[in-house]
Symmetry: C2
Subunit: 223 residues, 2 copies
């Protein structure tokens, strides 16, 4: 990548930037000229005094020309897995953009996560971690909304959840849950998508949520 000024720096910031392309998740990769793998996740070495998320944001700006709709740290990766550079530890960030409005700079390409080229072991672990983070935080953070444009139909939102969860959802149940959670509000616009009845457009409704006052749910997955 760029800023390889200090070859001895011991940590990097790596960016797993994801989007939804059609019905597949995709990840942004940068073409490498000098490293062993032909492609890699964008990464930067923080400049002196630069915060970690600032470095992640810089990597995103270099690729997109704008800030992602969502950015969140995944964790620090090291522990023996090889990185594109000789860096000991890499702090990975997950970032999301809606595919509709994203335009890529030269040297960057979207790859479907199901069909990635060879990546360094450490970066492959980061991609793995990023997809797990998405699934696990889907019900705590507005992940799905950050992958959609500002307004969307409820069918589009449902399809996004189906993509992220990897399973079909029942329309009536989905909408009932959505209503109960006060997550969206209708706009006065409608969209006619070729055939079929036009759909109303909605927008995400960030709001002070009253904490769910449920008891324990042992929906555990762990061994």
């Amino acid at each position: 990548m760029r800023d390889r000024s200090s070859k001895s720096a011991s940590y990097s910031v790596d960016l797993v930037l994801m989007t939804a392309m059609g019905d597949k998740l995709a990840i942004l990769l940068a073409r490498n000229s000098s490293e062993r793998e032909r492609w890699s996740v964008p990464w930067r070495i923080p400049q002196s005094g630069e915060a970690l998320d600032a470095a992640a944001n810089r990597a995103a700006h270099d690729a997109l020309g704008e800030s992602p709709a969502w950015t969140e740290q995944i964790g620090a990766f090291g522990d023996g897995k090889r990185h594109p550079s000789e860096i000991d530890v890499s702090v990975a960030y997950l970032a999301l953009v809606p595919h509709e409005t994203a335009t890529l700079r030269a040297g960057y390409t979207w790859f479907q996560v199901a069909d990635l080229p060879a990546l360094s072991p450490r970066q492959r672990a980061m991609v793995e971690g990023a997809t797990q983070t998405i699934q696990s935080r889907l019900d705590q953070a507005p992940i799905a909304f950050r992958l959609l444009p500002a307004t969307f139909t409820l069918s589009e939102l449902q399809q996004m959840y189906e993509l992220l969860l990897g399973k079909r959802l029942h329309k009536a149940s989905f909408r009932r849950a959505l209503q109960a959670a006060w997550l969206v509000e209708p706009t006065d616009e409608w969209r006619s998508e070729g055939r079929g009845r036009p759909a109303q457009l909605f927008r995400y409704l960030p709001k002070k949520r009253r904490r769910a006052h449920r008891g324990v749910r042992f929906d555990f997955l762990y061994p």
Copy 2:
């Protein structure tokens, strides 16, 4: 701390080691001789080639003489907040031990998380992150069991959940959910705790879980 060999190292591993003392959460702090704050979370600079979790485990061993019952990375902290040393970035680990069996080496003390002494800003952020991680992963990882001895009564388990969740639970609901999740198995031991009927002892039952096959739950908390 110790191993201050390379003052120029740019990242550390910091350990937020927690336990349940009575009905309060407590955290392990190490007394400082030279740093600005009198107390700090134990931290280490990874030795060359040492993995991040190995460094966290080393910090735990130095304090306890044994490995924690649970260890998990929380994330990397930097972003301007001051650390005990001049280190740029610190990778924080959450670790758990049952209070009953933990014995501390000299220079280490438990503090209730509600009543901590002055800590460096970065370490305070880590403690904050650790408590959030505990709450958010309580239903995905055996957090409560790692804070209890190998065998325990169901009342003790319920009290642990009440402590971690910060709210009372109904006994019948708690046990019903526990049964449905196949999380514990009875031993043939009973414990008489002074007055009242003796309680059967249970142990944690790690097991291949069948994935919860539920739909979406918009139990969101986010703004």
